[in-house]
Amino acid sequence: MNKAYDAIIVGAGVIGAPITYELSKKGYKTLSVDKRADAGEGSTAGSCAIVRAHYSTEDGVAFAYEGFKYWLDWENYLDHVVDEKGLARYMNTGSILLKSQGHKWQDVKKHYDAVGVKYEEWDNDKIVEQVPVLDLHEFWPVRRPEDPTFFDDPEKELEGGLFCPEGGYVNDPTLSAHNIMRAAEAKGAEFLFNAEVADIRSDGGKVQGITLADGTQIDAPVVVNCAGPHSYKINQMAEGVWEGCNIKTKALRHEVMYCPSPEDYDYIHDGYHQSDGDIGCYVRPESGNMFLIGSEDPDCDPQEWVDPDEFYAGRGGHGRDNQLTEEQWKAQCYRLGRRIPTLQVPNQPKGVVDLYDCSDDWIPVYDKSDLGGFYMAIGTSGNQYKNAPVVGAMMADLIDACEKGLNHDKEPFQFSMKYTGRNLDVGFFSRKREINYNSSFSVNG
């Protein structure tokens, strides 16, 4: 006899864990399986764990703003569970979005007003008063250091920014997933690690369960794909699922750098999260008074779509494997070096290389599938970390409604967000949608 559950969740990262948690709270007997040794050790571990509200769509802003409330109330969200590793901490630094040609900030401002996001408009003087190391010249368009015009002197100045007092980052993304796992276990959830899924079994258009690489079969009428960069491989294992998606997912290689803050600037204590489309970078403080420098995927940068198994095994060669490259180190650090002229850039690259699970339009797929009982929370594209607790609640509601007979494709499920009081049409995240050209097609979402 195979072991049987009400739902199997594939992936115990920051997206899978909250779905498990919320399903368990609804009374589902759940099993989470993950090929890694513990929760949040896959691409979650490489997340910058930024919490910010600016998105390219109003629903995107509302969704993120709803997420803030969970991070601000983390212990309550976890129902005061004890995690022997301690709790992840949300660092509410505040968040600056510089007004630039690299962001549709006018739209963001409109969305902030519509959703009720708290923000202030800062002029350049105010920004420099708060962040004295900045040079607010305009460097647009984003270029690479290999391009001689990268070094041209700027002429114009930027025109201020939008500051959100709410916003920041979570200090340990792996730990945050681990916290949610412990909270889920307290509600009866089970987790199985070092377990790689080899097949999704189905019969008569209904999912039956999973088969692990060691041959173990586990049964459940509900299977949820939260496999991060491996999501497309899991979809391909499930009959008709990959073919039934108009929006597909792929794994995109991405580098994030750590560069020491200028000595006279206490970035770790005084600094903000900052999105700077003018140089194609976002930054947040990192322990050791470092700048964590992420890339906003400017058009001039190469995009490397890779096989996740090859990548994590360190194969594929320069620029495709899991090692930082000198070119990208220089690109990201020099770009920030223009904005912060006192930033010292070491010769040795330091940072993180990991994968995005990226959809065709960089907006995730939160949906059912063409296979009965098989659901997806995929394509989280490097911009859904902050939304993870809300995704958990939304996916659990969606799954429950569909299992009780809702035809979500015909009458899209409306998710009620408890903090912002708004309704979200989950059909926005449909696998059947056409590519959403309002998207930023980047990490900005």
């Binding site: 320069h318 912060i340 850039v345």
Partner: protein, 255 residues
Amino acid sequence: MKIYVCVKHVPDSAATITVKDKAEIEEGITFLMNPYDEHAVTEARRLKERFLESEVIVVCFSRPEAEGTLRSALAMGGDRGILVTTGHRHDPIMTARALKTAIAQDGQPDLILTGRESIDSEGMQTMFRLAHLFNMPAATNVVKIEITGNNALATCEKEAGAREILKLGMPCVLAAGKGLNIPRYPTFPDIVKARKKEINIIDVEKLDIPEPTSRVERVHLTPVVEKRIPKEITGTTTSIAEQIVTILKDEARVI
């Protein structure tokens, strides 16, 4: 004062090194300035701030790709660079001869700075051979340099944890240890300035270098596979902290 700083183009210590043809490493990885040499360049810049008339010339004997490393050294404070190019790897005998010839052709050194060793071959020979070729005194693992008249006072750290102060007649060769300074990495304005600094590129074949009668050849290179054995430290918070300090002091010897 004319200060020559010898820098080496080495593989990034964080890169995954793979061996090819038994004795060579796969070169499709990041190469950068030898970390000890960063201290040497930083010290040269510091000395130039004290002795304003000084010139800092950075010298490298390597593949043409090493221009990037030389450019980094110029961004860190070098005034100009000399790159002696070669197609393959050389032993310390040849390296010292190439560096000596290039420096002597360029000018009269008052001080030559190097790193105490390179992190790839770890030979610790080149600076002594270079000093010998110039008939100069040398000191290694230098953690403090003072220039008084025609002498250099070099504080050197010994393996056993002792320190000695050596007086060397100038010109001399001093090899930087880690304690010498905190490397002063370039800012963006430094990088912009370095782009315009002169690098004299010379093919090693064009230098009239006397052929050594003997040489060192690496015939085999084997990576050592490090075994990581995790150990759980238990006890009260205080006792755990004490145990960690003991490990860092006695086993890892990093504090």
